[in-house]
């Protein structure tokens, strides 16, 4: 992940244990993390310094996370926001996303899940490919023709398999969690059947990998999957 610009994150969280561990974990992954323990100081920090991402606990001692976001948006701060909530409430979720939060994560979550989502939010501004083609190695997905080719040979996919591959390609080189795939590809908030994603991935693997070339869809332990061409780097499994 060299050459990546240092991402500045403001983490607003009242629980000191969570605050310290997450801060430490994110720092170890090369993020510059500032922390605030309540809504008021969080808003002050966010107004003083430019951040690339805000991680916001929904339940804060002095105000709720929605208030924080509302007052920041009212003051013209349009930094991407990732919500954390212990409630997993549907209404919370709807409210958060309506207010312009970029993502939403229910506690307790795996740290790897948080990392994957931070990367996804940070990448969100990526532009569309000019030629409508997404490619990794010899795998090419043509958005305009809605067609997939591996080493020049056409691959027949069901519509959902196509969407899944498109999502993996758009996040190529980055791990995406099963929950993220469920939400983004199937469009549902509930994550009960995120393990069913494994089955879909296996079916997709059979179609795009078997006999057609080196392994492209890799399992990332404890997180989910990552599409990457590792054959050239010489680190193929």
């Amino acid at each position: 992940m060299g050459g990546r610009e240092l991402l500045r994150i403001l983490y607003i969280e009242d629980d000191p244990t969570a605050r310290e561990y997450i801060r430490k974990g994110l720092s170890e992954h090369g993020y510059a993390v500032d922390v605030a323990e309540d809504g008021k100081s969080g808003v002050e920090r966010a107004l003083r310094d430019p951040f690339d991402l805000l991680i916001l606990d929904v339940m804060l001692p002095d105000s709720d996370g929605f208030e924080v976001l509302r007052s920041l948006r009212a003051k013209g701060v349009h930094v991407p926001v990732l919500y954390l909530s212990a409630r997993g409430d549907v209404v919370d979720r709807i409210q958060g996303l309506n207010l312009g939060a970029d993502d939403y994560l229910v506690k307790p979550f795996a740290f790897a899940e948080l990392l994957a989502r931070i990367q996804a939010v940070a990448r969100r501004s990526l532009s569309e490919p000019d030629d409508g083609r997404l490619a990794v190695g010899d795998l090419v997905l043509d958005l305009r023709r809605h067609a997939v080719e591996r080493s020049g040979r056409s691959v027949e996919l069901t519509p959902k398999e196509f969407d899944l591959l498109e999502y993996l390609l758009r996040n190529a080189g980055h791990a995406v969690s099963r929950a993220m795939i469920t939400e983004k590809v199937w469009g549902y908030g509930f994550d009960t059947y995120s393990n069913l994603i494994d089955v879909h991935i296996n079916h997709l693997r059979k179609k795009v990998e078997q006999d057609l070339g080196p392994k492209l869809i890799h399992t990332v332990k404890g997180v989910g999957y990552m599409l990457e061409d590792r054959s050239k780097a010489g680190e193929g499994e």
Partner: protein, 463 residues
């Protein structure tokens, strides 16, 4: 505690007041009727007397004695309970004859009568009491007959009626108040009883029932309604107690395992690689605990019902298409044929994500319990105001006794080991159906598969 006026007292005051008003109106009406009637009676009586005298005069005037006899006799008869006076005038107003107890009074003859010069006239005058007069002209005999009746007795009749009302009213009101308050107290006694029982009922003490009288009146209805309410609260408290006991057990078991795992690990120095492996396994344990907690939270949310902002039109056949497609790879891996019968679009007001979860849970259950070579069919049957979705499988089935319990949280079918967090799929499906105003029914028999019927209203219940 501030005590306001009791319902019994208020009722008593109210119907006492109501009675006062009713009786007053009735008394006033009766009195005015009696008074009018009395006046007419007096007038008729006087006319009868005067006519008789006039007839007598016509027959025998001026042979005075017989006329005087008749007059005296009439006066005598009348005097027994009335006072009657008779005068006979000539046209110039001179008194020719004056008899009766009024004779000492100069009744005079009104100028008015003289001016009229004939016929009859009736009037009233006051000479220390009300008198009614009737004067009749007798042109043939060239005289006037005047009768006067002291009407006090008639007036007294009317007064008596009035007095009866006046004197009896307070007694009547008092009696009404006493009886009313007794009645009110009597009819409020069941309410007191209900109140006393309700006070004894608390979150932990829900076994009380309110005594019912069985006579199907409003209070009995109220008692029944409250008993039903208590019963449903009792049931839901029991359900919650069972749920939290089960949930605690569900969480304690893996926590215990982790605890001992940690203790054993800490007992001696280990290689970093071993720590890494153990921590990795711990993370998986925590993950599965998180899943259990998530599942419980979802169940609690759906039990709380749909929030109004969640309700949007959801097209069921395309939603089912997506769910079936989602499960298709799992089913094909298991060698199970999963198919959705084509159906016309039908819309249900609800939360698409919840409904997705509902059908996903049913399909997951079906795939899990259907051996390879079997099939799962999903059919949509629209009905008026409802849509039925039937998920039927050729799986292992379940006996009717167990069938009723598969919707209970944490219930596990005997002999089947499940991962933690599972055991909430079907309860969640049912709660979601109920949150949408619908229901799920399971029909099953061992060996012949199961069939879940989801009934959902196509019109919003609160619309």
């Amino acid at each position: 505690m501030r005590r306001s006026v009791s319902i019994g007292t208020r009722w008593t005051l109210r119907y006492t007041a109501a009675l006062l008003v009713t009786v007053s109106i009735f008394a006033a009406y009766t009195y005015s009727q009696v008074e009018r009637r009395t006046e007419r009676d007096a007038e008729l009586h006087l006319e009868l007397q005067v006519k008789e005298i006039v007839d007598a005069i016509r027959d025998s005037w001026p042979t005075a004695p017989s006329v005087i006899d008749i007059i005296d006799r009439n006066i005598a008869i009348a005097e027994s309970d009335l006072r009657l006076g008779v005068q006979i005038f000539d046209p110039k107003g001179r008194v020719l004859l004056k008899r009766g107890s009024l004779a000492h009074q100069d009744l005079g003859l009104s100028g008015k009568l003289r001016d009229r010069g004939g016929g009859r006239v009736s009037y009233e005058a006051d000479f220390g009491g009300k008198y009614r007069y009737l004067v009749m002209e007798m042109p043939a005999d060239n005289c006037f007959v005047q009768g006067a009746l002291y009407t006090r007795r008639f007036v007294r009749n009317a007064r008596t009626v009035r007095d009866i009302y006046l004197y009896s009213l307070p007694i009547l009101l008092l009696l009404t108040a006493v009886l009313g308050s007794l009645l009110a107290r009597g009819s409020l006694r069941p309410i007191k009883e209900i109140n006393r029982t309700a006070r004894r009922i608390t979150g932990t003490h829900l076994d009380e029932t309110i005594p019912t009288t069985g006579n199907r009146d409003e209070l009995d209805d109220l008692a029944h309604t409250l008993n039903d309410m208590i019963a449903s609260i009792r049931a839901s408290v029991r359900r919650m107690q069972r749920f939290s006991a089960n949930a605690a057990h569900e969480l304690r078991t893996p926590l215990n395992a982790m605890r001992s795992r940690i203790d054993v690990t800490l007992e001696k120095q280990r290689e970093p690689e071993e720590y890494r492996r153990i921590l990795g396994e711990m993370a998986e344990e925590v993950e599965s605990l998180s899943n259990s907690v998530h599942a419980m939270m979802r169940l609690a949310q759906s039990e709380a019902g749909l929030q109004p902002e969640q309700r949007v039109p959801v097209e069921i056949s395309s939603l089912l298409g997506e769910v079936v497609e989602f499960f298709q790879p799992l089913a094909s891996d298991a060698g199970v044929r999963l198919s959705l019968q084509p159906a016309d679009p039908v819309t249900v007001p609800g939360d698409p994500s919840w409904l997705h979860q509902l059908f996903a849970n049913l399909l997951h259950n079906a795939v899990k319990y259907t051996p390879g070579g079997g099939r799962i069919d999903v059919a949509i049957t629209p009905a008026e105001a409802w849509v039925e979705v039937i998920v039927s499988d050729t799986g292992v089935g379940i006996d009717p006794e167990q069938a009723s319990r598969v919707f209970e949280p944490f219930h596990r079918v005997a002999g089947r080991r499940e991962a933690p967090g599972v055991g909430l799929g079907l309860p969640l499906a049912r709660e979601i159906a109920r949150a949408h105003g619908g229901e799920i029914v399971l029909e099953s028999a061992p060996g012949s598969g199961s069939s879940f019927t989801v009934k959902l209203p196509t019109v919003s219940a609160d619309a």
